[in-house]
Symmetry: C2
Subunit: 477 residues, 2 copies
């Protein structure tokens, strides 16, 4: 059976239901009306043409990643040999070098992957060191046997201060523990195929390495070696993940109003710009998908939050993706979503069937208040809570939409992530901004270089001192 | 030495710096001007009087919790005996019954508390089961030896569907594994002292129990038995935590513009309502404080997101607290904060010194791009990144403020949390809403009861079916 057929089976890998986003559900002028949907259709068709033209020119290489037959093979080979040599894999990476692997790992491996006994786990543990808090980094390093650990250093540019600091620390530790020669066996570098200090170190010192294709930025890199290598090392079925992503990319050929990537982009653009709802709550009702919301938060926010339009005129665009987790955050955030400012849309991310059944027994039969729970199961209760919340929001005039998977699967997750990446690029077209850059992060970096005393950034240290306000009236101890 | 002196020492446990929120830093009319600060002073003084009057009437019992000498003793006794009997403690609780313990545990125990070898940990592992995803719940249960586990069931009303379902499952498992009599030794119930089905079960079946004081809602309950019992069981110094909270409550006597709780409330109210910034990013630069942002997210959002003013007029108030973690989210969210819509204030939560030093060695000395990192340390880099980011935001006209702790400590965390709880109640006065209720969560619960077939909610099931929209044009597969 071809992977495509196998991945899709007979049911849709993803369903988009936006009934609760329509004027029919919310009242005239509060959601999207039939006429507005028609006029959106034209804009979406044009955005799709734009996407396809840019892809053809090689400007959107992320869209072609799922069709690459070689990379998964290379990752699979690496994983097969590493499985015997290493108990632990530690990713040194941050932002787009961390979020994709984290999201997929939580979804596709048991949620207790890292604490399962080795025999049941069957694959190395996977840690993602995506911060430089010394307490947090020490807590990760604390539990490792260096002689059985592989460090996967991930930075496209090789200049990421956080990742390079971690690498410098780890390289020294490995050298001291195992000797300089053996240390190299515990390092895998994922970086630009040609440029940068990490590539130079690969050439000069012979570290194992994998390439990050030029033109694929961090937040679009989950299906490059950035995501696939650590995921294969932890036992994820990356071939099925890619097969699902391919299906999503293929489905982008659908007509605008039957096209999930286009609709997701268009509906959220409508709510943000025509209905003045700058917030988009991404709310998975599944622990396994909770980190998909983190990954999406970078993808959406960093891509669309832009000072300038493509033509250079002021933009200040962007919709703030806010992470929530159901049912947990019904007990934490729902009050605000129900009664607070009308400034958000809620996107539920639901799973129709779970991979575990946990029945609720008919315990405490003498307590009438509990009788309705017994005989059900946790997954059923979770989904009834999602449906009840969606209905309560809609009845209160609060727009919401749902992305639904039949269950969490490798193919389904690939489909979901590719759909959201395509939707993000399409949204860039709708907002008329560049979804692939992130110029706004540079200034803070340059101040940090100045404060760290980096050569060539003395002016930034001076500018920092000049700009620093420490008026005692505004400091309260 | 009295706890007060011991907790405070010679340095402030918390510093509020709002230089980057002033018009001086941001430009006229973009932050808070000197005149506006003066006029805020009167409103804050009045809100403080209101707080004190309500406290005197017994309407704000959370403010008196830190002065209770008995509860910490009871929790300490429980913990001392439990330490020998249990390897694991599992909290069954959600929302306010989970977030406080989670936040404090991460801050005050090693970040790898649960994966440390038992001998180094010295106290039971602590798991907080705050969702009903069957896959997630099974992953927690998977690693337990029931004969060495204590389940702390926390629900004030005893009607929380999620917690009660978990309890029914666990009670049956314990009974099967250990026999009905022994099972009781593995259950601790924290609930209302008089009312509800959990209290009834305590009376009828003799379970161990702790009371939740009437008038203290979930999001203000971290310093009741809800938080203190599991924290003591995991080895947290709850006496110091309370001593810090006492100091914060005492410091509320300070004049408005020297009063951190009042200023935090007033400045955010100003930015939200006068500067149209409905978002408040809470961004700890410390892994140990990351979950404090989750706890704060419930506190702030559920307290201030209200449909009605105190006088019954329409409100729709609230500021959306958004969680971020530094430095990680500089690589994920900062682009949006720097260049996106001018709809947020960023609150940094910084730590001046860390409890671990991780030096960055002068590795790869031949690579010029890396030279500036060697010789520093991770904590220093983290703080320079925080400072660089704050300056970059301020230079770009983006308001931010900082809450700074000298280091993460039990007393400091108690001080911080009590300050934020007081600030939340004060904010309720400024917004003229009730910060202690959450009426907006009821409708969704009632739909869920209807869908679950609970007796007496047949009308909600019908209303659900009547309201359900499943127009095929708005469902895309």
């Amino acid at each position: 059976m071809a992977p495509k057929e196998k991945a899709r089976g007979t049911e849709a890998l993803l369903t988009l239901d936006f009934n609760n986003l329509t004027d029919d559900a919310l009242g005239e002028g509060r959601g999207i009306g039939a006429g507005e949907l028609s006029s959106l259709e034209g804009a979406l068709a044009s955005a799709a043409r734009d996407f396809n033209a840019r892809r053809k020119k090689g400007l959107l290489p992320f869209a072609d990643l799922p069709y690459d037959p070689d990379l998964p093979k290379a990752c699979r080979r690496l994983a097969s040999s590493a499985r015997r040599k290493y108990d632990d894999v530690v990713v040194l990476g941050i932002g787009g070098s961390a979020l994709g692997a984290n999201a997929v790992l939580a979804a596709l491996r048991p949620l207790n992957h890292n604490t399962l006994p080795a025999a049941r786990r069957g694959w190395p543990r996977l840690f993602v060191a995506d911060n430089i808090d010394p307490e947090g980094f020490a807590a990760i390093m604390d539990g490792l046997d260096l002689s059985r650990t592989l460090f996967n250093v991930i930075s496209k540019s090789g200049t990421t201060a956080e990742t390079m600091s971690q690498f410098m620390i780890v390289h020294e530790l490995l050298g001291k523990a195992l000797g300089p020669k053996a240390a190299g066996d515990h390092i895998l570098i994922t970086t630009d195929p040609e440029k940068g200090v990490l590539r130079r170190l690969v050439r000069e010192r012979g570290f194992q390495s994998l390439p990050i294709p030029p033109g694929v930025g961090g937040r679009f890199s989950v299906l490059t070696a950035v995501g696939l290598a650590p995921l294969a090392l932890a036992g994820v079925n990356i071939e099925e993940l890619l097969a699902g992503a391919r299906l999503a990319q293929d489905d982008f050929a659908a007509a605008p109003l039957s096209n999930k990537a286009l609709l997701f982009a268009g509906l959220n653009f409508h709510m943000a710009t025509r209905r003045n709802r700058p917030g988009l709550v991404m709310m998975p009702y599944a622990d396994g998908l909770a980190r998909v919301a983190d990954w999406f938060g970078q993808l959406w926010n960093e891509s669309l939050g832009k000072a300038l339009h493509l033509d250079g005129s002021p933009a200040g665009t962007g919709q703030t993706a806010i992470k929530a987790v159901g049912v947990t955050d019904q007990h934490s955030q729902l009050q605000l979503y129900m009664e607070g400012p009308q400034d958000k849309t809620v996107c539920f991310l639901g799973v129709e069937g779970f991979r575990k059944r946990v029945p609720i027994p008919r315990a405490f039969g003498d307590q009438a208040e509990l009788a309705y729970l017994g005989g059900g199961e946790l997954g059923g209760l979770l989904n009834f809570e999602r449906l009840g919340t969606a209905m309560a929001l809609a009845e209160s005039g609060r727009p919401n939409l749902s992305l639904l998977c039949p269950r969490i699967s490798s193919a389904g997750l690939g489909y979901l992530m590719q759909t959201l990446m395509v939707a993000t690029v399409v949204s860039g077209t709708l907002y008329q901004v560049d979804p692939l850059d992130q110029p706004g992060v540079e200034l803070g970096k340059r101040f940090t270089y100045g404060l760290m005393g980096r050569q060539g950034f003395g002016d930034m240290a001076e500018r920092y001192r000049g700009g620093l306000r420490a008026d005692g009236r505004y400091i309260v101890r």
